[in-house]
Structure formats: C-alpha cells, structure tokens
C-alpha cells in the first residue's frame, strides 16, 4: 500500500530523511514543471524547486495533517513563483535563452538556429512551444498561476483556491479569463482558430 503524503510528512517531522526523499521523488518533476511554466526559465525553476522542498523540510514541524500536503506544497511553490515574477518585472528581464531545458546560456536566435538543423516537424514543434510559453508569460500573475495549476497540475478548483488563497468562485473567474486571454493572444500570433472560422 502506498504511504500517503501526510503520513510521510509526519515521519519527516521526526527527522526521517528517507520519508523526505520519498516526498521529493513524488513531486520533484511536477513542481519543477509548474515553476518552469510560471516563470519560463528552466535553470531558475530547478533552483526554486529545490528551495520549495527545503522550505517543506524546514517547515515540517509546523505542518498540520489537517491540510492536504499537496496544497501546502503548491502554496510554497506559488509564493516563490510570485516573488520571482515580481523580481523579474522589476528588473524587466525575460529569459528567452532558458526556454528550453537542455540549452546552456544560448540566446533565442542561437536556439532557433540550433533547432533549424532539425527535421521540419521537430523544428516547428520547438518553435511553437517557445511561442506558447511566451504567451503564458504574458498573462497576469494570478491568471497564469491558476491556468497552470488546472492545465498541467490537474488540481481541482477548490484545491487551487487553497493554493492561491482565494475563493472557488474567484478561481473560476481567474481560469475563465486566463483561457480567454490565452485564446485571444494565440489567435493574434496565428496559433489557434480565428473568431470567424467555421465550427
């Protein structure tokens, strides 16, 4: 039988490192993906994912099993993402070079030259992925986080409400607005169907 996250956290409270390791194994990819899609920088996303788990580890003795572990974990990650998004806005930097994880310090143009050697479909796919990520980056902070939590992390609306610390109806409207904005932005850049297209 699979040990629940909450039980593992209770072991973690008593300093059980193997319980902590299991928790990390369960969530490391999910959390890294979530942070990566929120900030659009893979290397920074790994750093912040590590920071998320270290905060979990440090805060283990404050963890109460009455709240679902997963939501608590996403709450920590979300707060780190918010800080990063705000920092970036202040510094006004966009890290296009880090959009693809296996590239070290390559600019967008180098990246596109690099993938231009690939077969057409692969090239198009890479290009499309970069454009989609850039479109996500253009969404307002809360809309972006809510959309990512529902689309990639498969969280329910009530779970997202707990993570974003707002009401379920607020989550509902955030996600709706995020999808509508996403739809408009994608049509603007030529991905997706225009409003005059046939059903």
């Amino acid at each position: 039988m699979r040990t629940s996250d909450e039980e593992l956290m209770m072991k973690c409270r008593n300093g059980d490192m193997s319980a902590f390791e299991l928790i990390v194994m369960r969530y490391k990819d999910l959390i890294t993906n979530f942070i990566y899609r929120s900030i659009g920088d893979y290397h920074r996303a790994e750093d912040l994912a590590q920071e998320t788990f270290l905060r979990v580890f440090r805060g283990a003795n404050r963890y109460e099993p009455k709240c679902q572990f997963k939501n608590w974990l996403y709450l920590i990650a979300t707060n780190l993402c918010r800080n990063e998004i705000r920092d970036r806005k202040r510094r006004n930097t966009t890290y296009l070079d880090d959009l693809v994880p296996d590239s070290e310090e390559v600019s967008y143009f180098e990246l596109m030259q690099d993938v231009s050697q690939l077969p057409d479909e692969v090239y198009e796919k890479k290009e499309q992925q970069i454009i989609i990520q850039q479109t996500i980056n253009r969404l307002p902070e809360n809309q972006r986080l809510a959309l990512l939590l529902v689309s990639y992390q498969n969280l329910r609306y009530d779970e997202i409400a707990e993570v974003l610390e707002c009401s379920v109806s607020a989550v509902k409207s955030l996600i709706h607005r995020a999808r509508q904005n996403m739809k408009t932005l994608l049509i603007e850049i030529g991905i997706g169907e225009s409003s005059h297209a046939k059903v």
């Binding site: 909450e6 209770m10 409270r13 008593n14 300093g15 490192m17 902590f20 390791e21 990390v24 194994m25 490391k28 990819d29 890294t32 993906n33 990566y36 899609r37 893979y42 996303a45 790994e46 994912a49 590590q50 788990f53 270290l54 580890f57 440090r58 003795n61 109460e64 099993p65 009455k66 994880p101 796919k125 499309q128 992925q129 989609i132 990520q133 996500i136 959309l147 529902v150 689309s151 990639y152 329910r156 609306y157 509902k172 409207s173 996600i175 709706h176 999808r179 509508q180 996403m182 739809k183 994608l186 991905i191 997706g192 169907e193 409003s195 059903v199």
Partner: protein, 187 residues
Amino acid sequence: MLKCENVQPQLSAYVDREMPLWTIQLIQWHLKRCPSCARETMRLRQTNKILHQLDPVKTSDNFLPDLMRRAAAITVIEKERVSAVRRILRRLESSFAWMLYSFRTRGRPYAVVTSLAVLATVVSITLYQPRLTLLSNDTVTLAQAPTDKQALLVEFEIVSINQFPKPHLSSNRRTSPLTPVDPHQAR
C-alpha cells in the same frame, strides 16, 4: 431556459467539469441549441489542447542528491541549536498531531483505544507523588543553568528594583552603596 450571458462565464468550468452534473446537463442542452456558445466552448477546448502541446520537463540527475545534501546540512545545524528538551517537546507535539490525524483517518474504535491509553497515563502520573527533597535539589541546579529565559528574568528583577525602590530604602538612598541610583533623579 438559460441565456447566453449566463452560460458564457460558466464555459471554462464546464470544460473542466467543475460543476454539478445537473448544471453540466443544462449547459449541454443550451450548447445543442446555441451555435455561438458551442463555438466558444470549442475554442476553449482548443486552447487547452494547445497548452498541452508543451512537453513536460524533468529535473536534472543531480537534483535529488543536491537537495538531500542541503537538507542534511540543515539537520546538522538544527541538531546543534535545538536543546534536548526542545527536541522531546517537538516529538511530543508531533505524536499529538499524529494522533489527531489517526482519529480522522482510522475512525472511532482507534480513537477510543488511544483515549483510554492517554487516560491511563494521565491517571498514573497524577497518582505518582514526587519526593520534595529531590525536586528542590533540581530547582537549585536549574537556577544555576544560565538559560536565556532565566537571564531575562534576572534582568527584569533588577529593573523593577531600579524603578520601584522600596519605601524603607528611599530614606537612606544616598548612603547605601547597595541601592541603585534612581534614573529620574540622576537626570
């Protein structure tokens, strides 16, 4: 009959199936009759599809060993800092939280058995009479231990003597070298 302006804000939740079944059916019924809402639903679904074109990333190979090393370093620092007493308190606190969690997950019989065990422990502790001589010895050793809290207490006592000198001392304040100077008079 549902109106478009009522249906449209619900469509994203409809796509995510985040509503009661009867609402889903009502909206389905509307979508069959309303091409504009149906088109909007299709566009929302398509946006979702596009979002799912993004490939998931994986953490690098040294992510886990790196993290575990950093966590272990935290444990060492914590162990040095946290005294034995606090460690015991923390363990008690976590077992209490664990008990509450078990009650919720395992149900009533488990709660009854555990409560009885706790009750038995409490009763036996209450019936146990500590020897007073031993206790007083302990107090002496405790008072000698320079913990932060006690240092604070001592400081507090000095301050209170400073600010509220006893009436019988105030008459020979200037002559007694033991009496501290009144800060208000000094200024």
